[in-house]
Amino acid sequence: MIALLIRDLRLAVRAGGGFGLGLAFFLIVVVLVPFGVGPEREILTRIAPGILWVAALLAALLSLDRIFALDHEDGSLALLATSPLPLEGAALMKALAHWLTTGLPLTLAAPALGFLLHLAPEAYGYLFLSLALGTPALSMIGTFGAALTVGIKRGGLLMSLLVLPLYVPTLIFGAEAVRRGAEGLATAVPLTMLAGITAGAFALLPFASAAALRVNLR
């Protein structure tokens, strides 16, 4: 299992931009928002949690379709299927690799970008915590979407249509946790729900992804 994770991380780094790509996209989206919404401090402060979360979500989505597509094209997906590593494990490792190259950098960088949007001081801790809890779910759900559409030519757009509705609960609880944190309200409920969804995703989706991969390999 770990062998696949290490190989994917090495590939991401070697391919250049592995870590930076998602991060750069995240930065661009966050920088674009004030141009669209205007520089007023009150507006930005109020929408900062939502913007940071939506930007994180889109950045995760951006780098998803490469997860299985590359392996499918060069045949290593079929070879993986006949290896002792079960496809469920492969899907899990792919999700973890995606999180390490996209979700984790986002979580670390988000507070720094909070300043650009005048994020309320109390919210930084909650922003980091909610992203840390939520981005793994984005990667796992995304891996499921990628597994579903691996065989489809130009399946990237379709995958976004399939994955974005599945992101809604994570987005709602994630952004809500930060917004309530910013206003000093209790954040226990959204954070626990967020963690619950992530745990549920990692319990259910590797099996669904493996089933989808097996169908696509047929």
């Binding site: 579903l148 599945l166 959204p190 169908v215």
Partner: protein, 244 residues
């Protein structure tokens, strides 16, 4: 003769084709009577006046939107377990109907709420969760048409339907939780017949029955169409194979 007998497409088509006209006319009649009664014979409710009549279309469509997805879930499971083509095609046939029902529910819900909210759309928890359900329907329908091989499409859409159902329920709670953020509590939630007094009961039940029969009739029509399409493709493929 177990019910799995109907899994054979030709047998399914043979038995359902004569039934379709009856179900169609019955649903047309029920809807006509139900909505007619609701529109013209019921008094104005105390504080909603006549806008309560919108409920006669809003409630059935909303219920059918949920039941259609549930039916798709059941048929997807039947396909994955028993590999019966008819159930996979029935799921594909039901999806557009469910999507339209969700659309109707959204439209009528927005119109129903407009006088109270003062705007045509409010991110009220119930309407929001139906908007999310509509996105699930779109994804499901799009996945079916994106895959050439019919059996692969059936398998993948079934997996999507199962995972989608789990997330649809999650979205429902997320929307309710998120809706409370709106400082205006849901003044009314247009909940089912429970808060409708007896004089409205009959038209509501009739139109509900009409919508259910409508759904059944249209699913049968669309499933048979898909079966014929699949049979035509199979014959064409065999002809090509024979020729090559």
């Amino acid at each position: 003769m177990s019910i799995w007998e109907y899994a054979n497409p030709k047998k399914f088509m043979a038995t359902t084709t004569p039934v379709i006209p009856w179900v169609s006319w019955a649903s047309f009649g029920l809807i006509l009577v139900g909505l007619g009664w609701g529109l013209f014979l019921t008094p104005a409710a105390e504080n909603f006046e006549h806008s309560v009549k919108i409920l006669f279309v809003h409630v059935p469509s909303v219920l059918m939107a949920i039941n259609a997805w549930f039916m798709m879930l059941v048929t997807s499971l039947i396909w994955l377990v028993r590999r019966h083509h008819v159930s996979a095609l029935a799921a594909r046939a039901a999806a557009p109907i469910g999507a339209v029902m969700t659309l109707i529910g959204l439209a009528t819900g927005a119109i129903w709420g407009q006088p109270t909210w003062g705007t045509w759309w409010a991110w009220e928890p119930r309407l929001t969760s139906f908007l999310i359900l509509f996105l699930f329907y779109l994804g499901y329908i799009a996945l079916w048409s994106a895959i050439e091989d019919q059996d692969t499409a059936a398998d993948l859409t079934s997996v999507l339907c199962i995972v989608g159902s789990v997330f649809a329920v999650l979205s429902r709670y997320a929307a309710i939780f998120w809706g409370q953020g709106l400082h205006q509590s849901a003044t009314f939630s247009a909940d089912k017949e429970t808060n409708i007094d007896p004089s409205f009961w009959w038209p509501a039940v009739l139109s509900m029955g009409g919508f259910v029969l409508f759904f059944i009739a249209l699913v049968l029509i669309r499933t048979n169409a898909l079966i014929r399409l699949r049979r035509a493709m199979a014959l064409e493929a065999r002809a090509n194979r024979g020729a090559s």
